[in-house]
């Protein structure tokens, strides 16, 4: 049996490992479009911060890890999938055949369609290559404009600041991390950033970028403009599905999959940032593009590839943890609440503390927080476990900080 995994991110690598554990003899090929060994995007901010070297971003550290696992690595991008003949075609024209295929090709940073986005000193912040470019250009004293105050944008603020740059963030939404936090938390995050010397512009947009002499002029929607030495674009990502046109595989925002993470073609599965998997909270299919989901997908898809769809994916809880220059925020599930739901909130603006629990009847369905890190994982346990809260619902309504107790009491009684 030849298992072929396309994409060497966390989802693809976990899939390879899972297959290897289940089948010692299978042939496993890992096709990677990048020239580096498999690395993690999550580690890029720490590379930028110079907390780790490039090697510190690698998914697996032993140089011979993949060959020891008997996983063959092919460093070529896949340009086409020929599902009727069970073949993939590589950028160099080579054709490889598979028995079962997993598409874990991830996502790519998108750039807004504005003039000047292709200029020399305008970069995304997504790949290791992007990070190298930013590291080289974000030098002390330089002016940097960061487009987008989403997850990626926020997570690199600290490293940029540490590099001694003058930083302006331009966010199109009305607040920071609009897809992760509500107005209250977004505003707190903004004032936190401002207190650290970062200029934050929300409800603002870059309309064009022009090269002038050595530098750049960034024009804004409100007709003002900013001078910059470097513009970093962190405005979002999209699934890497372009190469699947005419492959016969159903695609939408990402690759459409069923509850086994299987595509419409029987022997082709998809996982991670490219898969339009099930969201646990609202049972809709969409691309979450987060690390825990990528890993979960990789594992489940691999098991189903080896053991013929024995494992149902009941959906992944969307969740994020974000460290914005030391202020740690989290969001889980339906943090924005549900119709007729209830909420329990504590806010201490002066100390940047916030916790917001969202309930649907007797169940916790979403959480967002600022400044809370201890035992935070139980939020996933409570949401995903559909833990009936009973008396603890009222107690959490009175004091949302009693999450851990609620979890323990409920889990022990259900264990």
């Amino acid at each position: 049996m030849h298992y072929m995994i396309v994409g060497a991110g966390p989802s693809g690598v976990i899939a390879c490992e899972t297959i290897r554990k289940m089948d010692k003899n299978a042939k496993i090929s890992l096709i990677s479009g990048q020239c580096e060994p498999p690395y993690s995007r999550m580690a890029i901010p720490y590379f930028l911060e110079e907390k780790i070297a490039e090697k510190g971003t690698y998914l697996r550290h032993d140089e011979n890890y993949f060959s020891d696992q008997n996983i063959g690595i092919v460093s070529q991008a896949v340009t086409q999938v020929d599902s009727s003949n069970d073949n993939v075609i590589l950028a160099n024209g080579e054709v490889l055949s598979y028995d079962k295929l997993l598409l874990a090709t991830g996502a790519t940073a998108i750039s807004p369609p504005i003039a000047g986005i292709d200029l020399n000193n305008v970069h995304n912040c997504w790949t290791l290559e992007d990070a190298r470019n930013i590291a080289a250009k974000a030098v002390p004293g330089s002016s940097v404009v960061l487009m987008g105050a989403g997850f990626i944008g926020c997570i690199i603020l600290q490293s940029l600041l540490k590099r001694g740059v003058k930083l302006t963030v331009v966010e199109m939404g009305v607040r920071m991390v609009p897809r992760m936090m509500d107005d209250v938390a977004g505003a707190l995050l903004k004032s936190w950033c401002e207190s650290k010397g970062v200029t934050i512009m929300t409800s603002q947009q870059v309309t064009s970028i022009n090269a002038v002499n050595e530098g750049l002029i960034v024009d804004l929607k409100d007709a003002n403009s900013l001078n910059a030495d470097l513009v970093i674009c962190a405005t979002g990502v999209k699934s890497n599905i372009d190469f699947l046109e005419n492959s016969g595989i159903n695609i939408d925002q990402g690759i459409v999959v069923n509850e086994f993470l299987q595509t419409n073609i029987n022997n082709i599965y998809a996982s991670g940032d490219v898969a339009q998997g099930l969201d646990f909270s609202d049972q809709s299919q969409h691309v979450q593009a987060i690390q825990p989901t990528a890993v979960e997908h990789g594992r489940i898809a691999a098991i189903n590839m080896v053991n013929n769809n024995c494992c149902i994916h009941r959906g992944s809880v969307n969740m994020n943890i974000l460290d914005t220059m030391g202020l740690i925020s989290t969001s889980f599930g339906q943090w924005m609440g549900v119709p007729d739901g209830e909420q329990s909130i504590l806010l201490d603006k002066d100390n940047y503390l916030y916790i917001n629990l969202q309930f649907d009847g007797d169940y916790l369905v979403g959480v967002s927080s600022l400044g809370h890190t201890q035992n935070i994982g139980v939020v996933r346990g409570l949401i995903r476990g559909k833990v009936k809260l009973g008396v603890w619902k009222k107690r959490l309504m009175n004091n949302p900080n009693r999450l851990m107790e609620a979890y323990l009491a409920s889990s022990l009684s259900q264990a």
């Binding site: 201490d348 503390l353 400044g371 809370h372 004091n399 900080n401 009693r402 107790e405």
Partner: protein, 618 residues
């Protein structure tokens, strides 16, 4: 070492907060907690000052072992001039806040002056601030605790607070920490509230270390823990029954003060005993006691966690008292029960909860109700004066109503909030106040246990059992049995217990370890933690130095040898029943020998020789 080496000075008058290095010499002379804080207080205030004026200071202090793994190493003390006694007050508490203070990097906090408006002190390591407490002023300890936990969004915040009683000027308000542990005696909470300080909230994450000999410390700690586990009192009796293990024992030997110390045995003793707390209630089949509980680092775990029968009259329609909370300890069970002739375990538990909730001392409260009951039965108080409720001995209703009135500061509660000395004086019966230096007796009758009577009479904070717990020897035979009915040899025994206790209280340890430990067990732990040559002898001498320092303070505050005595009842009215039948306290007989052993002159003043031997100032 093992000390954090720093203290916080909080000037409430002007809001200034400063950090100081701990005085090196003083910590070597006075060790920590009770000793060291008493030294600072003695140096910094005029002992003659009004305890409720801004001139008084209040010190919260830990010992060198507080916050370490030494068994029971979680104690902290509050030292100030007490309003109940006008003497130096040192009230000691367990729970968790002491260790938290140390973990935040502070050995002690000195509060001075008076805040113009209500505030609380928030400490998160070296971030310290005074924050407005208007929202919690006028509320209970329990409400304050919940409010602060919510406000700071931190379940692990440790909180010590005063309740409404302290704000209302009740003379025996305590400072309650961790909901149901308290620096309960002598009115230290009243001092805190007089400074407009509602609470202290601490979060420490720095860690306690800096041990002189880490390996030696862990060895000494483990040996100490093993000794506690093997000892029948600390290994079995206290975990199973708490201090309530004593109720039946003390009643048997005829030393359980009953009905304001008219009697020495109580018919209802069993009904309010530790054994009874284990027995299923008739109404719901559950026992009063849910579990035992430990303070920080304590391997004994004598604490009681209890519930009240939800059908009991005291908690009808009051669901806030239906859950578990800190249950009865022996002193409280005695003061609220036997001393009032009340044998209703649920009523006592309820009043105990209210004492924790609103921050007042159940010993003084119970004894004050007892005095009121005697005056009521004697006709000195009318039913109009007692709020329309008959204050007869045995009335659980009078007891529970009295507690509610004191908590709210209303009606007859205002009288009860005075403490028995002031109450009895007010109604013309001063001889009915069972107090020394204004503080009520604990649960051991000096007629049936002679040594403890001498300890009461000489205790520097007024009548107190935990200044020299000779009950250990006279009743339990620890470290060796002495005859409770004889005065012979007791002055020496009392002095030895008082001095050793001074050292234990100053180390940051709980006195209950001494059922199993002598200073020989404690010295190696302190030495390994602190270095500098701490031996059992030096600890005893340190205790003696502390005792004399406190005595000096009191003398300057106006105390004389005439105050070193017991109420006439105990000296003149013989015990009517039990082994002590026909016996009175021989405190006057013992006093001269005690003074001599202390190195004091016949007026109870330390001689020059004593001062110079202990390195005390003139």
């Amino acid at each position: 070492m093992s000390w954090a080496g720093k203290l916080l000075r909080v000037n409430l008058t002007n809001g200034e907060i400063t950090s100081e290095m701990l005085n090196e010499q003083w910590k070597n002379d006075y060790l920590g907690a009770r000793g060291l804080a008493s030294k600072y207080l003695s140096e910094e205030i005029d002992p003659a000052c009004d305890p409720l004026s801004p001139e008084n200071k209040m010190i919260m202090a830990t010992g060198p072992l507080t916050g370490t793994m030494a068994a029971t190493g979680g104690r902290y003390v509050v030292v100030t001039k007490g309003p109940l006694t006008n003497c130096i007050a040192c009230s000691n508490s367990g729970g968790f806040i002491g260790a938290e203070m140390k973990n935040a990097g502070w050995d002690m906090v000195i509060f001075e002056g008076k805040s113009p408006t209500p505030v609380y002190l928030y400490i998160e390591n070296d971030q310290v601030e005074l924050i407005a407490a208007d929202d919690i002023w006028g509320t209970s300890v329990w409400h304050t605790d919940e409010w602060l936990h919510n406000k700071h969004q931190d379940p692990l915040l440790r909180i010590a607070a005063v309740g409404r009683t302290a704000e209302n000027g009740c003379f025996y308000a305590g400072i309650v920490n961790d909901l149901h542990r308290a620096a309960g005696r002598s009115g230290v909470g009243t001092v805190m509230a007089s400074k407009n300080l509602k609470a202290v909230a601490i979060r420490g994450t720095l860690g306690v270390g800096n041990l002189a000999d880490p390996e030696g410390f862990m060895k000494a700690v483990n040996e100490g823990k093993a000794a506690l586990a093997e000892n029948p009192v600390t290994g079995q009796g206290l975990p199973a029954y708490g201090t309530q293990v004593l109720m039946n024992v003390i009643n048997e030997i005829g030393a359980l003060p009953t009905n304001n110390m008219k009697d020495v045995q109580f018919d209802g003793a069993h009904a309010i005993s530790g054994e009874a707390m284990h027995e299923p209630r008739k109404s719901d089949g559950r026992p009063n006691l849910t579990t035992n509980a430990a303070c920080f680092g304590c391997t004994i775990a004598c604490g009681r966690i209890s519930t009240i029968d939800q059908g009991h009259f005291s908690v009808e329609n009051k669901s806030q008292y239906w859950g578990n909370s800190g249950g009865l300890e022996y002193e409280a069970a005695w003061a609220l029960g036997a001393d009032n002739g009340v044998d209703d375990l649920d009523a006592l538990t309820y009043v105990n909860f209210v004492c924790n909730e609103e921050g007042f001392d159940p010993i003084t409260f119970g004894a004050t109700v007892a005095a009121a009951m005697e005056m009521y039965e004697d006709g000195d108080l009318t039913i109009e004066q007692t709020g329309g409720i008959a204050f007869n001995f045995g009335s659980a209703e009078a007891l529970t109503k009295g507690a509610e009135w004191v908590a709210a500061g209303e009606g007859f509660g205002k009288d009860l909030a005075l403490g028995s000395k002031r109450l009895c004086e007010k109604y013309g019966r001063p001889e009915l106040s069972m107090t020394v230096k204004g503080q009520e007796f604990p649960a051991y009758d000096p007629r049936g246990i002679q040594g403890i009577g001498l300890n009461y009479a000489t205790s520097n904070r007024g009548a107190c059992h935990v200044r020299g717990y000779t009950v250990a020897s006279e009743v339990l035979g620890i470290p060796e049995k002495t005859d409770p009915l004889t005065a012979e040899g007791k002055p020496g025994l009392v002095k030895a217990f008082q001095d050793a206790t001074g050292a234990v209280d100053s180390a940051g340890l709980c006195l209950f370890t001494t059922f199993a430990w002598s200073l020989d067990n404690i010295a190696p732990q302190i030495e390994a933690a602190c270095g500098g040559g701490w031996t059992a002898e030096r600890l005893a001498e340190t205790g003696e130095r502390i005792w004399n320092l406190e005595r000096d303070f009191n003398l300057k505050a106006g105390i004389t040898s005439a105050d070193d005595t017991l109420p006439e009842r105990l000296r003149k009215e013989a015990a009517k029943t039990g082994p002590a039948k026909g016996i009175v306290s021989k405190v006057e007989e013992m006093m001269p020998e005690y003074y001599e052993l202390r190195g004091w002159d016949s007026d109870g003043v330390p001689t020059d020789e004593t001062r110079s031997r202990l390195g005390l100032k003139d």
